[in-house]
Amino acid sequence: MNPLVFLLLAVLTVAAAISVVVTANPVHSALGLVVTLFLLSVFFVALDAQLVAVLQVIVYAGAIVVLFLFVVMLLNLQGERRLTGGMGLLVAAIAGALAFTALLVTLLGRSAPAPSTTVPAGFGETQALAQRLFTSHLLAFELTSVLLLVAVVGAVALSRR
């Protein structure tokens, strides 16, 4: 990827991600999330992973955040209540900071893989991805589908209450 393009995209993505947390209005937050997800899919396109990029838009931007917005609109929130102080907030802040530090230390400790200039044939295409998914990652794939099924059954059970 062109370093200049990467820098531009990275700055935009981080700005959008920050806007999700900072804005007071839940609808604006959700839209910030859409922009973040969309920019991430641009990253995937730049990395020759067209399928992942398109799936990112269909699943996250096109379905999940729409559901967020749907719920927010039904609740008709005008603005969020700001929590100030309190033990819970302190604990959450410390836990978040620790997790972020752990992530940073692990990532910086690793040596970066040697950058390769050529992309293997068929990389990121549907066939290559499906081959991986249905051979070496089959168990994880099937477990995820069971997890989703459990979530659906749970939602139905809750709505029958």
């Binding site: 859409v34 067209q50 399928l51 398109v54 008709n76 295409e125």
Partner: protein
Amino acid sequence: MGVDVAIAAAKAVFAILLALQVVGLGVFFERKVSAVIQDRIGANRAAIFGFAGLGLINTLVADPIKFLLKEDVTPAAVDHLLHMLAPIVSVVPALLAFAVIPFGDVLQIGERAINLQAAELNVGILFVLAMASLGVYGVVLGGWASNNRWSLLGGIRGSAQMISYEIAMGLALIGVVLTFNTLDLQAMVRQQGGLLWGWLPAWGVLYQPVAFVVFFTAGVAESKRIPFDLPESESELVSGYFTEYSGAKHLMFMMSDFVEVVLVAALVTTLFFGGWQVPYLARDGFHLPGGGMFAVPSWGVAILQITSFAVKVILFTWLQIVIRWTLPRFRYDQLMRLGWQGLLPVALLNVLVTSLVVVLVGNP
């Protein structure tokens, strides 16, 4: 390099103009078909500087000018940024989807073979789905940002309806993808070039008739027009999610409806009715089933293919407008029942049967 960029730009401009031309024709049909169906003469009263000689054509020229020159009234209590963005978000993704729809085979100019498709994407059909799923933001944002009860109700109805019918639409497409064994729209159209029993063009609708019905129904529902116009239903919600819009923004919402109609027509053409294929026309000319052959030059083949694609798209645009002026509006529970209990199980069954046939018999 420069020539390649110029060709890519020319293809993009051509694709978008082709789409917009059919949108214009769609508006023409809307006025004329509704007049014929309602047994009246039709819109023929517009006069431009006192000249009314062209009848309906005058109206078609006057309508957009009227919309563009109207005052853009924005209520005070709206969310200004989102209120302005909503019409743009509504129309842009629908137009972008035309980038991957092929409008012809390969045009040979000297040494250069030009693939007549604005963007060659190996996941083309998924790109269309992604753009279609982004269109819902226009409805949701327009409904929420307007700060109006009717708009909000329209926005909620719109988002629920579009998400529900997207599922049936996607499942119908899985049957098609299984049949053609590719996600690339151009490759799908090329596969529809063969003949069944030596005389019948092997179009997708012959392999996937159930998917065609489900996809077309869901597509009509996605365009949010009667009989699926609950998000705007003017007799209950004034104009639903675009109640608080006027002038050019209102025009953009109306235009996005028509762009979606043309998009559905283009997709149905591409997936089920051979796209740019002309029966018996190969790259070097017509090969008639009886054995005769007429040679046609490459540019002639390209023109015939583009014309064939345009005619099919116009036909399906016309069909959707006839449906819109024939059927009454669904009730909300009927809408949800059709989507979840009608189209969804049928599409799932279609996937099951298609998979079985593909495993046992193989791809066509």
